[in-house]
Amino acid sequence: MPKLEEKPRVFLEEFRVKNAPDDYGMADEKWNFKKFTKKFRIVIVRMDNTEMEFDLIGIQPAFANAFRRLMLSEVPSMAIEKVMIKNNTSIIQDEVLAHRLGLIPLKADPRLFEFRPENAEEGTEFDTLEFSLKIKCTNNKYGPKDSFRAEDLYENHSVYSSSIKWHPIGNQASIHKEADVGPVDDDILISKMRPGHELDMHLVAVKGIGKDHAKFSPVATASYRLLPEVTLTREVDGSEATLLQSCFSPGVIGLDSDGKAFVRDARYDSCSRNTYRYDCIKDAVILSRIRDHFIFNVESVGAMPPNVIFVEAVKILRDKCKTLLDELNSFS
């Protein structure tokens, strides 16, 4: 059996998940900040304005989980919170419509706004964005005569997020641009209407956090998984090699020119235990995961790029510690 490198692992066996025999868990070692900084590494794998994949290596699961939880529920974003309905003759009920509007992600950068104080009746230019949605469905007089398609027969039969208009309050127009505060996409369907149906609404967006309502969460998903590892314990070739290949996600197992199987890249393996279904190859592989190698996937909803969201999340934890420390120091 090939000697495995020194890394904390969990083994995925046929009927159980087993910890490495000499591994007493990371809970056993003493805390040492210097040692932590020495071991801790970050590798960015993929990054653009909406999606990001990065690795946190050599970190405690408690920290990784804290960062994930913070991104989901404590990093703020702007969302529509109040809807004043002046007229709604469409078939969607007022409350359902208001809920739909709340879920539309806004591009407004939450770092440029403040939280609205709890007892404030009126919003200010620093904590509120105001929008309106006024639209009416009519018969289309100029459409082709012989068509029965809704888009030819009616005007405004589908209401999209592009119809939401921003109304700057106070000095907002000089600080923000309409394109930077409105909905992230123009083609989010809000409602469908027929001639005579009409919407006239005033929308108020405020800053909030995901703990209060999921619509305030700045991420579509933020998750982590442990790095998978596949080790071959003996040579596998011929039909067994192709069978082995089919047991893993595409690209995990490669075949060389002699038809011998080798592990190409286990990173994107789904960690299914399909190999254990076949007696002829179940002895040929060790499946494991590296216990301190976290692969993060962060998908932004559109207001902030994912790398900014992660930094904001860590900053929130840091500031939490700071305020708590200040409080402890002040009363003792």
């Binding site: 809970a27 900040f33 970050i42 960015i44 790398n307 930094v311 708590l324 409080e327």
Partner: protein
């Protein structure tokens, strides 16, 4: 409102055991802080609980051999803050490196 208070009952037991109550905190801070404090030399026991899901409270228990728990708590928070600062610095460095043409 104060964010931290002490749970009554440990007053006569010296300074080496306390349960602190954190308002508006939960597993996010609790587990991360526990993970650090649990690894300190003098700490006998450290654990946290969110007693009821409908109450935004987190109970944090520390028992030590000699060191006052308040010192331990402060040290834990300082260390967690240092971890955060290090993570931010390292992450921003890597992002800069990644976006460099």
């Amino acid at each position: 409102m104060m964010k931290i208070s002490e749970l009554p009952g440990d007053e006569d037991a010296g300074l080496t055991c306390r349960t602190y109550v954190f308002q508006n905190e939960s597993h996010t801070l609790g587990n991360a802080l526990k993970c650090i404090i649990d690894r300190y030399e003098d700490v006998q026991f450290c654990g946290y609980t969110v007693p009821h899901p409908a109450e935004a409270k987190m109970h944090f228990r520390i028992q030590t051999h000699e060191t006052p728990t308040l010192d331990i708590l402060k040290r834990g928070l300082t260390d967690l803050q240092k971890v955060c600062e290090h993570t931010i610095d390292l992450f921003e460095k890597e992002v800069k490196e990644f976006t460099k043409p």
